[in-house]
Symmetry: C2
Subunit: 228 residues, 2 copies
DNA sequence: ACCGCGGCAAACGTCAGATGTATGTTTAGG
DNA sequence: CCTAAACATACATCTGACGTTTGCCGCGGT
């Protein structure tokens, strides 16, 4: 294992062992490098890797800090990884979403607050307003589903599903939907999800979410078969 | 955005656009750095970050290659991230597992093959043999659940759940179980999951998995409350 | 014809030193 | 008391050099 990798592992250990708590400030590069007996360049590579992974937060001119280590932060990289997947893998991911999102939506129905419900309604209305504006449609679609899952109060769950769904993927589906002018049906599906949530009906919410995700999945599968 | 970040984004784009396919070899560091008009050091930081994220595979003395980009590879980093979480977040993750693993287990019941079933049975037997050997117990427990989910044939799903469950988390739970000598009950729960899978009964498999994960979660919650 | 060994070249790994630039703090002045 | 300039700190980047590993090719022996 390279010296840089060892440095990464060492910092990882320090955090896991609680020697470096969330928000803590690390020593300057020079000192840190000296302590591990490696050059500043190697240390920088280690810090860079951890910073890209959202474990460390480097502030130029100030210093390097441990992030909050909150799930929403650490799982952020998931979305980036998902964007690199392609082909058959995309269908696997949509299956994952089809399995998980309904469960999460069902749970949300039992926990959603009045404020959460209002936020969800807001994004739904925005989608209706959006018309054929794909960009706006995609944005509020993502926000809609995010709000729904966030209503469970589970941050890890929210970020996880958000990452799996993926911006690129969602955009691709919507584009196809609009071109086939079946977007209105999708909006209606969102409407059904909202109603079930408003009623606090977990089973219905779950079913509505399953139906909705199924629509997207069918689309992607057809596109995949056409492209193969 | 720093030059290194731009370099990371650029490589990311090249892969996403298909200019760099899985397994492709990248130009040498010097040339790459020259093309992007940055120093070799900055380029190395970019490559290091992507290599830690399992997007690139650097082979000393040979060159740098794009990995297979398979979900099992790209989602590997998830486990590392999970290991850094702590406190309340751990409970969130167990809730995620409680929600998802039953669904995956249910799906597995409809797809599991004879070979898959044999593998699962093997790990179950190994757990029974293990007795109070915690290390062996943990290893085969992890392998058991991995085999079950892998029976769905969905690699992304498998790696995702594997990452969420996390080595550390599972080990901690088992240690507590053995000390409270209620390990036999947990083994019985595994037995129930296996039986449902063998019968191809999705609903029963799902219920058994839920029951099992619930046991672990209750343990963790109790430990968390005791420690607070 | 096949196998094994040595050497060469390419490429990554590491180090050292120097300079640029953003940030937070301190201090002098109003 | 507040503001703005000066300063120290720390990260960002570049340059050049040297070590180490790996893959490959050719040589020679069997």
């Amino acid at each position: 294992m390279s010296l840089t990798d060892e440095a990464i592992a060492e910092i990882h250990r320090l955090i896991q062992a609680g020697k470096l708590k969330p928000g803590a400030k690390l020593p300057p590069e020079q000192q840190l490098a000296a302590e591990l007996n490696i050059s500043r360049g190697s240390m920088r590579e280690a810090v860079k890797a951890l910073s890209v992974a959202r474990v460390l937060d480097v502030r130029r001119g100030d210093g390097t800090y441990v992030t909050s280590l909150a799930p929403s932060v650490l799982l952020e990289g998931l979305g980036v990884a998902v964007e690199l997947m392609h082909g058959k893998t995309v269908l696997e991911l949509t299956e994952v979403r089809r399995l998980f999102e309904p469960v999460a939506t069902g749970l949300a129905a039992t926990r959603v607050s009045a404020e959460g419900l209002a936020e969800i309604r807001g994004h739904l209305d925005a989608m209706i307003e959006a018309g054929d504006d794909i960009e706006s449609l995609v944005r509020h679609d993502a926000a809609f589903h995010r709000s729904v899952v966030a209503a469970t109060g589970n941050e890890a769950l929210t970020t996880l599903l958000e990452g799996i769904s993926g911006r690129t993927l969602r955009a691709r589906v919507w584009r196809g939907m609009v071109e086939a002018s079946s977007a209105h049906r999708t909006v209606a599906e969102h409407e059904a999800i909202y109603s079930a949530l408003a009623d606090g009906d977990a089973a219905l919410a779950q079913a509505a979410a399953l139906l909705h995700v199924g629509t997207s999945e069918r689309w992607l599968r057809r596109m995949h078969e056409a492209g193969t």
